[in-house]
Structures are given as C-alpha cells and as structure tokens.
Amino acid sequence: MNLRELTPSVIGILVRRGADFAAAEDAVQDALVEAVRAWPDEPPRDPKGWLVTVAWRRFLDATRSEAARRQREERVSEEPPAGRAPEADDTLQLYFLCAHPSLTAASAVALTLRAVGGLTTRQIAEAYLVPEATMAQRISRAKRIVSGVRLDQPGDVGTVLRVLYLVFNEGYSGDVDLAAEAIRLTRVLSSVIDHPEVRGLLALMLLHHARRAARVAADGSLVPLAAQDRGRWDTTVIAEGVTILQAALGQDRLGEFQAQTAIAALHADARQASETDWVQIVEWYDELLRLTDSPVVRLNRAVAVGEADGARAGLAALAGVDESVPRYTAVAAYLRERDGDLVAAARLYAEAAVKAPNLAERDHLTRQAARLNAARGSR
C-alpha cells in the first residue's frame, strides 16, 4: 500500500483522539517524512500503526505546554472513544473539510492535496509553480479558516468534486502527476460514498486520461480530438471508465459530470473520428444545458451541432452564444472554415490565437490561420 494512501485515516485517528485538525495534519506530515527516511532500512510490519504512533508522539511534542495539555484532556473526555466511527467516515469528513465552501478554490486544492493526498508542501508548490513559502502560507491559512469547522458535519459532495476536477485539469508539471493524483483521490472518494456524480467524475477523468498519450505530439503541440491516433488510446482505461459511467447512469440520478462523461464516452466509442455519433452527442449537450445552462456548454453544443447537422446549423447555434465566452472565436473560425468561408476563418483563427488562454492553444490556432493563408497563396 502506498504510504500516502494512509494519510487521511491517520489524520482521522488523531482527530478522534482529541487533536485538532490543523495540529493533526502537521503531525501526520512529520510522520510521513520520517517514514520516507526510516522505512527503507526498517520496514514496519504494521505501516499504519507505525504512522499513528509516530504522528501521535509528534502531536504531543508540539502541544506539550501545560495549558495545551489541559485543553486537550478536556476535549478528549468529550470525544467518543476511538474506534467508534468507521474509518471510511473519517476519510469522507476530511474530503468535506478540505473542500469547505469558506475556502477559495486555490486553498481548497492545496489543502486537499496535502491532508487527503499526503503530498508535501514542496511538491504542491512545484506542481503549481509558486514558491514553497507562499504555498506553506496558503495551506496554513486554509487550515486556520476551517479550524472551527466540526469534523462530523456532513458536507456537500459537489464542492469536493469541483476541487478534484480542478486538480485533474491542472495536468502535470513538477514531479507530481496531478491528473493521476486526482484519479486516485476520486477513486478513494467513490469507495467511501455511494453517489452517481462521484462515479461520473471518476469515469470522466479515466476517459480523458486514456487519451493522454495521443493528445500531445512529439514536439509538444496539441493534437485535437479529430486528429488523434486512436490506436494510442488506452482501451483498458476506457473500458473501466465506461463501466463506471454505466453503473452511475443506472442509479438514475443524472448530474452534470455524468452527462459530460457520456459525451466523452461517445467520443471514446468511435474508432475513427468520422464514426462519431454526433447526433447523440448533441442530445447529451441538450441534457447538460438543462442541468447547468452554462455558456461554455452552449459553445460546445454549437460545435457538436455543426458536426451533426452541418456548418450552417452550427453557426446558427453559435449565434445564440455569448461572444465573451472563452474560445468563442476559435469555434467561430472552425465553423466558418467548415462552411467554406476561408478568408473569414483565417482572420478569426488569428484573432482567436491572440485571445488563447494557454500557449499550446495559441500555437495551434496560429498554425490553423497560417495553413489557411498559405492555401490561399497569400502571406
């Protein structure tokens, strides 16, 4: 078992013994560091017991002052005896706490990666490209904010899912693969709570993860879905994602993530881009719109309509979308090109490149504009 997987339950045990969350979390981090140092020479027979012992000792060391001790004893006497609450509940409560609505998105992400994921502050700082001191402050501030929250309050699973989705979407930089970490954390969550949207998000992550090798070309440029080498998609991971999605849909409580995943599954199902079932995809976008009415969904739906019913229909659908939505211009360029208006398409691709939110997309859009300009023989 991976060392980090033990983190949430060890924190849970310390909290049940009377430690407050912030101190318990610090103590467990210390114990993890100690384990990395000591275990290679002396692997413990009971890794979790070892972590609990060492973390508890650290916690006692840190709160040794008399006042703190008295306070702790009072609290311990009010707590239910250890072992009463099942471990799964501890883990679930930690997810809720770390994604608490009083935290900003960045703080919730950082706290989740540390307290639930067991990553070090340095690893999180490297993954998000900020100085370690900044990340340390962000985490301790987040812990202060949630310090008054009782651990036995049920939370909103939706806030947890949004945090995990953010982690997944960050991809990977530094030595931590955040996408893989998000999948691991969502898997654990789905083992401690029976909720179709948790399954939906897990399936969504798996379906996107399965395409990872095909998404980026050797030179680092982005490969759009239609141009990906589908032979490089991981069919085992896709099959797992589809099975999980079907189980979720079978619970008959449709939500945003399940609908989004259904679309990803339809893409995964097509052995060639031309075999994509766009008509069904449009139906799922309609379903998504009923659930969220988000302008981003409207924009994606216009692309799907363009594929299902032709570029004219796509442009008509686009007319109802707010122009300020990110990637609006890129979609307009694509639909214009499909409609044969290469002059407008080239101009829109160039315009979209200027507005692109990341370098890979900007390069991709610039190449599209250059391709059309070259085809027209104008430079």
Partner: protein, 135 residues
Amino acid sequence: MGKYLLLKHYRGAPAAVNDVPMEKWAPEEISAHIQYMNDFAARLEKSGEFVDGQALAPEGTFVRYDGEGRPPVTDGPFAETKDLIAGWMIIDVDSYERALELAGELSAAPGAGGKPIHEWLEVRPFLHMPPTVTE
C-alpha cells in the same frame, strides 16, 4: 485561479495622479514608499498569493544576431525609448477581480507629500498549461 504580472512602467503608462519624480520627494517619503512596497509583498506572501517581485535597472541594451561566426550587434541604450519597464510583481490569485484589487492597492503606494501616487500598473495574465479536459 491563475498567475498575473503586475507591471510597473518608468515611462509608457498614462500619467499618474500624483506625478512627481522620485528625486523630488522628501527622503522620508522615499523611505515610506519603499516600506509600503515591502509590506505589500510580505502581506501577499502571508496570504499565499506571492510568486515573485523584481526591479530592473532603467538602462538596457538592444542585442541581435548578426550572422554565423560574428559577435552579436548591440545598440543603445536609448534615452528616448517610449516604454520603459521599472519592475514587476507576479501574483497567483483566485480571480481576475482579485488581481485588479491587488494592483489597485499597489498603485496606492505613497509618493510626494505622503499621498498615494495613483500610478497606472499594467495587469497581464500568464498563459498556462492547457487543461486536461478539452471538450
């Protein structure tokens, strides 16, 4: 969530409200200004939003490639360059609105007469990694 560059111009930005060159301030006004900037950076570090802050020397040199086996050509410094960057701060914040709020605070640094300079700072978002979920 995202990173933003707060760019401070020596020249090239619209004129500040309290537009008195620094060499005409009282020495204690200069000290107060520097203290404000340091406090601002320290506060951002505490809130977990600070990434980097640097100041640049005003004089720079233009350099370009001059062909195989030849040393690069240099030119300048140009005293009359229209746009001149004084320095920057990089922040990592939850929203664009938060970036604007912090830039506003930084622009309130005290200048001549101990009053806020109200200087114009340029806020530029970083391009970042493409997201994993794309459709």
